[in-house]
Symmetry: C2
Subunit: 237 residues, 2 copies
């Protein structure tokens, strides 16, 4: 960038804030840490960073995620931009909310602790700085909406999981019980699960078969799919 053609225009600080969901011990949790800059230094905050001159917003959010959890290749999507003029008393600063789904079993717990970050169940969250509470509720709403239409639940479970685990996750996300026979039938009928020969015996004597998400098959289905149901009954929310 040799020249600034827009000189005289207004510049602002641009940050990313990550709304990081995990599924652990049967509940949805959120990863937060203690803010390291004034104002509000030391208060609970989403994990974020200013966007650097040499990176995009998506690169910035992946960078901080890796820094704190050690994880690469995370499911992360832009939520929205928070740009209210007075949202940050520290300075005019807009923030891009990015929500992430991570596998709690794969992340680096010591790294997380060393940054003073902590997992909180969603219903025990402390108050967060700025508009971060709003970001969390927006992200939760988005998670619910998207989980209705896309198989994103898998991003929150271990690579190998059982059908009852999957059902429990969806029950937590949607705050609703499902019939286990219909749930199993439905999920298997999608043909995006690969059944393994192993069983998980951690939650029952009989043991439950483990499955893997088959993202190749999913991509195939997506490709040819697209039936465009106009409005499909109650999906008109």
């Amino acid at each position: 960038m040799v020249k600034d053609w827009y000189k005289g225009g207004d510049k602002v600080y641009v940050a990313v804030d990550c709304i990081i969901f995990g599924f652990d011990a049967g509940v949805l949790k959120l990863l937060v840490f203690k803010r390291r800059v004034a104002p509000f230094e030391g208060r609970w905050s989403l994990i974020g960073s200013f966007v650097r001159p040499d990176e995009s917003s998506s690169e910035a959010s992946h960078r901080v995620l890796k820094e704190i959890t050690g994880l690469d290749n995370i499911y992360m999507k832009e939520l929205r931009v928070y740009s209210e003029v007075d949202r940050d008393p520290g300075a005019r600063c807009i923030s891009i909310g990015q929500y992430a789904l991570i596998r709690v079993d794969e992340h680096d717990k010591e790294l997380v602790e060393s940054h003073g970050a902590k997992w909180y169940p969603l219903n025990e969250l402390p108050n967060l700085v700025l508009d971060h509470g709003k970001m969390v509720s927006d992200a939760l709403e988005r998670l619910r909406t998207n989980a209705q239409f896309y198989p994103i639940g898998f991003e929150l479970l271990p690579q190998k999981f059982t059908i009852p685990q999957l059902q429990q996750l969806y029950e937590v996300i949607f705050q609703k019980q499902f019939d286990s026979r219909n749930f199993r039938k439905k999920l298997l009928s999608l043909e995006i699960l690969k059944k393994l020969d192993e069983k998980d015996k951690s939650s029952s004597k009989k043991g439950a078969f483990l499955f893997q998400f088959d993202s190749d098959k999913y991509k195939q289905i997506r490709k040819k799919g697209f039936s465009i149901p106009l409005f499909k009954n109650q999906d008109v929310l």
Copy 2:
């Protein structure tokens, strides 16, 4: 804002760019204008602006929309942030894409012309500056996805419209023909259309009854609705 607590951090230019859709003469059109700043001054561009210190990104996009079309209260949603480091050779500048649906019959045509803005059918669009072409294709994809689940088509039609008009719009959006009996049945079964006593005779001798979108009823349905179908068949895209 009395003090800058983040001094020493990097600031960037933040702009909004509006992807403005209209439905006219049976085709989807996009409103573009000639860029007024260097570099690329005079080339076709989405309509945008820098975000000012005293406004949010949403306020900025509504401001430029009003400035060019004279319209208030427009359906406008954030698409996503475009923040690739080299997206704008003029300077490091991130842009927030905002897509808008407007009623072509209600906008101020002279105002549009006086700004050098022009409606182009989507398949006759000139090349646009920067990453604006990408913004358009992203917005179109979003429009299609959203139109499957939410009744947003009404935002593109006159307040009063006929069922055949509505069908034509959906056929254009989805590039797909619908059976007129099923289409009518489906839309009426949603119970969000109010039938008027007037007829529109502009496209047939018999004339077609006019309808209005009933947003109150729609809100009611949304409120109690929410049946959460897990994945509803092909809706798993």
